[in-house]
């Protein structure tokens, strides 16, 4: 057992050498690292947000509203289809179950059903009597939500990119969630502000016949709605709400650019339409001179300027009581486009750069001290063999670093704790082996025999013991989130690499010692 074939010894040394080479970039300053394209390893361990500072946000897309909106549109097309066939009908409140329309005359119901049956592919018709409900089947529904999600991810990416931080990560999670990670962000409230808004902007004409207050008392004219005003200037003038036409004059989808700028010394937001939007905008402003145009953002009127002259260039400005920051954010949101559905922030974890740095330093001190304690104790307890175990222990740490760098696994604060814990536990294998050797010596075996037996009989115990810890680590990895995953990763990697270093490396070291010195005394 103590005899190592040449290639086996070479293999052990090769693994160690690879470990050193791949761990090395972590000890070099960033600017002397080889470039990505070079053959030399250049990857450093990936620090988690808790160590490098940054924000983690978990967002949920309100997919219900996507579905509801889609059924609204479907109900509209059903109604226009029925209108063409001169079937009188009335709409129902949009639900999640489907687009619902009630036919007024019972005798029309059959004909209406015929017309609506294949109004769109992938729909199913139900409903009794005069009620017709059309809903999407599972495939169409899944696709609908899927598309809303990927659009949302895209918009979130554009918005986050505008913040100008490096390496933000935006990932979809499950059916309706998005995880946003922005390293090195100083002010999470900015991120919150730009992710918390849908930024759906549309232009509507303000209804000229009635004021919102009149409409409240005497009923809404057909095709209008009342929206609250978000403009501080309006509030000062006593205007709380606007009565506006439902019809969208120009939609925010037609915007191609938007920038914060100044007008008469006040921050405003300029915008520019694409050709189609610009044409429509010119058309409306020519026809409706004298009326007011409401700029509606997420269901609130942010300003409602009077149209004084036709605006033909396809661009304009939004005035309002903006601060510079608000104007910046609004322009950013308009540039990045609207989300297909509102989003909610379910979870947020932000760490400032100072704390991250402190944690790294604290972790380093703890790791080094833990290492020193354990190294010293092993030498005190096992003498020469203790030194071998310590060499293996250092090698194990190097291997953990190397594996983490290669896999680009994320190191978190609990991850550092995992490494420190591994330092304590990695020597366990050696403790098991050495204790066994001591026993075998007491039982009167020769040195070589005892060492041999020590390694052999400790083997199954080491396996059993490590597999159980590995189970806990794997479960933690699959259920844990962020930082805890980092703990599971270092623990798992540490256990696996420690099996190599504590068993093979120490064995090689002892074999070489025995071969060179041929000791006839074993101090253990």
């Amino acid at each position: 057992m103590l005899y190592f074939t040449k290639w086996k010894a070479a293999l052990v040394l090769l693994v160690c050498a690879l470990g050193v080479v791949y761990a090395a970039p972590n000890f070099l300053p960033k600017d002397v690292l080889p470039t990505e394209s070079s053959l030399l390893p250049s990857k450093q361990v990936n620090l988690g947000l808790d160590l490098r500072g940054g924000s983690h946000m978990l967002l949920e897309v309100d997919t219900d509203s996507v579905v509801r909106e889609r059924y609204d549109a479907l109900a509209d097309s059903i109604r226009s289809e029925l209108r063409q066939a001169q079937i009188r009908n009335r709409p129902r409140e949009a639900t999640l179950q489907g687009a619902e329309v009630t036919v007024l005359k019972a005798e029309d119901a059959e004909k209406a059903r015929e017309l609506v049956r294949n109004i769109e592919p992938n729909t199913v018709m139900s409903g009794e009597g005069n009620n017709i409900i059309v809903s999407y089947n599972e495939v169409a529904m899944k696709e609908l939500i899927d598309r809303a999600l990927s659009q949302s991810v895209e918009v979130v990416r554009r918005r986050v990119d505008e913040l100008g931080t490096t390496e933000p990560s935006i990932q979809r999670q499950g059916t309706n969630r998005i995880v946003v990670q922005v390293p090195g962000l100083d002010d999470p409230s900015r991120l919150r502000a730009i992710l918390g808004r849908t930024a759906k902007m549309n232009f509507h004409l303000v209804n000229g016949q009635k004021t919102a207050a009149d409409a409240r008392s005497s009923g809404l004219p057909p095709g209008t709605m009342i929206l609250p005003s978000a403009d501080e200037g309006d509030k000062a003038a006593g205007i709380r709400e606007y009565l506006i036409d439902r019809r969208i004059v120009v939609s925010g989808d037609n915007l191609v650019d938007s920038q914060p700028t100044f007008n008469e010394g006040r921050p405003v937001v300029s915008f520019r339409f694409d050709a189609a939007g610009g044409a429509r905008f010119g058309d409306v402003t020519s026809k409706s001179a004298g009326r007011s145009l409401a700029i509606v953002l997420d269901g609130e009127v942010i300003s409602a300027p009077r149209i004084n002259e036709p605006i033909l260039g396809g661009s304009g400005i939004i005035t309002g009581q903006f601060s510079v920051q608000e104007a910046n954010d609004l322009a950013l949101l308009l540039r990045a486009g609207a989300l297909p559905a509102p989003m909610q922030i379910l979870e947020e974890r932000s760490v400032g750069p100072g704390l991250g740095q402190d944690s790294v330093e604290a972790g380093e001190i703890a790791a080094v001290l833990g290492l020193v304690f354990v190294i010293a104790f092993m030498v005190i307890s096992y003498g020469r063999f203790g030194i071998y175990a310590d060499i293996a222990l250092m090698m194990n740490l190097i291997l953990v670093l190397a594996v983490m760098s290669v896999l680009q696994a994320t190191l978190t604060l609990p991850g550092i704790a995992g490494i420190v814990l591994t330092v304590g536990m990695a020597v366990d294998a050696n403790v098991l082996i050495f204790e066994r050797i001591r026993e075998e010596r007491r039982n009167g075996r020769t040195i070589i025999n005892a060492i041999d037996a020590g390694y052999r009989s400790a083997m199954s115990t080491i396996l059993d013991a490590n597999i159980t810890t590995l189970i806990a680590a794997l479960v933690l990895f699959s259920f844990g989130s962020g930082p805890i995953k980092g703990f599971a990763v270092t623990l798992a990697i540490g256990i696996i690499t420690s099996m190599f270093s504590a068993i093979w490396l120490t064995r090689l070291l002892i074999a070489v010692w025995i071969k060179r010195r041929r000791p006839n005394e074993l101090v253990l």
Binding site: Y382, L413, T461, I471, A472, F479
Partner: protein, 309 residues
């Protein structure tokens, strides 16, 4: 220089003689833990409760009283404010706000506004009701699943008495560690949960080493009384058990003292759990084999295979 032997080579403690005492001690601790868990309850952190946490650094020593007045006047329910490691480091925690996720967001904005620019926000965390519930669920699942998997593995490797004894020891350690959290009131969050699972892994690891030895001796000393054999097994592995616990504790103590305030609870759980785990693998798991009437018979195949190991 003669290496230090933490445990003398000829150690021979009659552990089994005291097993009744160990049972009583353990039973009392377990029952107390469970009882306290249901009466006093754990001090759950925002990970599981939902809520808001903000860590700030003040200019010079923090005036906790003023902060309390300032934030208390916002009407956001219970606000816990405590010093965090250093006099100028303060941890602010708010309970989960009534209403949905948006309410949490608004509360966080109110807190950061009220704190103003004179303090540096080192860390802010917000866990909405939905995620809090999910994390709780995932936490329970992870504990149950890892315990089950470990049990299956042990059952696969050993006879059933060993599996049952090791799982009892494992539950013993986990429950008492939880009891420790109830008594000390140290916050229980995702990190402490991870620590408890690690304790589970460690505890079973420790137990397995002793059980491996018992199995070996069962084959070797066929005539020996079971209690003597168990004592012998425990004593021959005693040096290893204490050595490993000791090195692990050394590393953990370094982490506890210097690893920073943020992982102190986590390290505390590990330290306590490892002490309990070491006790249980020596004093609880092996003696339980007597109670479970471990049979001396060993299947033929296995004997031939491992007798020369």
């Amino acid at each position: 220089m003669k290496p230090l032997h933490l445990i003398p080579d000829d150690v021979n403690v009659p552990f089994l003689k005291f097993r009744k005492i160990f049972y009583i001690v353990s039973l009392v601790m377990v029952l107390a833990s469970v009882g306290l868990f249901f009466t006093k309850g754990l001090n759950f952190g925002i990970d599981f409760r939902g809520g808001i946490l903000v860590e700030i650094k003040t200019d010079g020593p923090a005036n906790i009283g003023a902060l309390r007045d300032n934030l208390g006047s916002l009407g956001l329910g219970d606000v816990s404010i405590q010093e965090f490691g250093e006099p100028d480091d303060v941890l602010i925690q708010l309970q989960r706000q009534d209403g949905d996720e948006k309410a949490q967001m608004t509360a966080l904005a109110q807190v950061t506004d009220a704190l103003g620019d004179s303090v540096t926000i080192r860390r802010s965390e917000l866990v909405g009701p939905k995620v809090g519930d999910e994390l709780k669920e995932a936490g329970i699942y992870s504990v149950v699943i890892s315990l089950l998997l470990i049990m299956v593995y042990i059952w696969f490797r050993f006879e059933w008495q060993f599996a049952v004894a090791s799982v009892i020891a494992l539950l013993h350690d986990v429950l008492i560690t939880i009891g420790f959290f109830v008594i000390t009131g140290v916050q229980f969050d995702l990190a402490t949960l991870a620590a408890i699972l690690t304790v589970a892994g460690y505890s079973i690891n420790d137990t397995v080493v002793v059980f491996d030895r018992i199995r070996e001796y069962l084959r070797k000393f066929r005539k020996m009384e079971l209690t003597d054999l168990l004592d012998l097994s425990i004593n021959s592995t005693l040096s290893r058990t204490t050595m490993t616990s000791f090195t692990t504790l050394l590393a953990l103590i370094a982490l506890f003292a210097f690893g920073g305030e943020a992982i102190r609870g986590f390290t505390m759980a590990l330290i306590f759990g490892i002490v309990v785990g070491t006790y249980s693998s020596i004093c609880v798991a092996s003696p339980l084999l007597v109670v479970l009437r471990l049979k001396r018979k060993i299947p033929e195949g296995e004997e031939g295979q491992e007798a020369n190991a």
